[in-house]
Amino acid sequence: MARLRDRFIFNSDYPIDKIVWLKEGQVQMQLGSTGDDPIEIAHDLGVQLYVNGVWTIDNWATTYTFNASRIDGQGYAYQSLLAATASKVYVSGQHAQGGTSTFKYRLWGFLSEDATKGIPAKRTAGWSGNKLVLSTDHDYPMLCKEGVATPGTTITHALGDIPYVDVWGRSPYTNYGYSTISNDSFGQVYGMGELVQIDSQKILFRNDSTQYDSYYYRIYMP
């Protein structure tokens, strides 16, 4: 019988992100519109997926994260939406400059830590860059806490420094599930209010805005 000391155990109190869904693609975007209906990409995970990613309209010369809006030139704006439910991912973009453009996207998705059981890792095969190879060449974000919060809730993390936080919000006005958040603000702007305030001890999900009825958050070690 092997002694316990003969077994190698790698242990951490902090989970490492597990990406369970990856997708890249492109769509012709009609510019000058107020935004087409989002394209729908089916996924078969069967549980709520939380997606993030990057997009470009100039073949990756310039990239944006999702829900980044940009005022450019004389008020022209880029805007984007990225959201997901338990069965679909929704992607859309708009550009007020006119004409058409090729909107390219690269997406990756997480499940909540409670939901990862039973999801085969083979779903993310295909790109060598995404494989988890734990080595000393890279720093892996350590997930301290994750969960769902309702507006008006304060989550205490007590890390003593401001952590990196990913937040998705669910709008009561759409069926798109959880999307990366937008229209946040420093200070009150047109009654929109601040959405998610992060400090060295806590995260406050404000209830000033009716834009979202719940949030999913992932807090990483600062």
Binding site: V20, T63, R70, L132, P141, L204
Partner: protein, 133 residues
């Protein structure tokens, strides 16, 4: 020869953090845009990571005691004495991460922005492109 590196492997994908950096941008408390003028843009850049990679960030302000993690947001201010806002966005142009604050020009008229003087600090970490073949 003794291997110098420890490597543990899993089939699950993850985000590999390859760089982290901080950059500051000071926004003045008064911006005047003349009639027919263009938007006024302030920006600061940070060169880290690899192009088209993922980005996670947050921004703090000298005016507020909390941070925002949104990639774009608004700064409350006054425009010609009324409540208004400037737009803030974070983008990636090649290796440069840009933090931009844009004050929109008036529609053919002169306009003045006030009450928004502050220093923004962008904290950013980038990830190895998970779509790297």
């Amino acid at each position: 020869m003794r291997p110098s590196r420890f490597i543990l492997n899993s089939d699950y994908a993850t985000l590999k953090n390859d760089a982290e950096g901080v950059v500051q941008l000071t926004v003045p408390g008064l911006v005047n845009i003349p009639a027919g003028g263009a938007n006024v843009v302030y920006k600061a850049t940070l060169q880290i990571g690899s192009p088209s990679a993922g980005l996670r960030s947050y921004v703090t302000s000298s005016k507020y005691n909390y941070a925002l993690s949104s990639p774009s947001f608004f700064l409350a201010c006054k425009q010609d004495g009324y409540d208004s806002s400037a737009s803030v966005d974070i983008s990636r142009n090649g290796l440069l991460i840009e933090l931009r604050v844009t004050f929109a020009a008036g529609y053919g008229q002169a306009t003045q922005y006030t009450d928004m003087g502050q220093t923004l600090t962008l904290h950013a970490e980038t990830f190895v492109d998970p779509f790297q073949v």
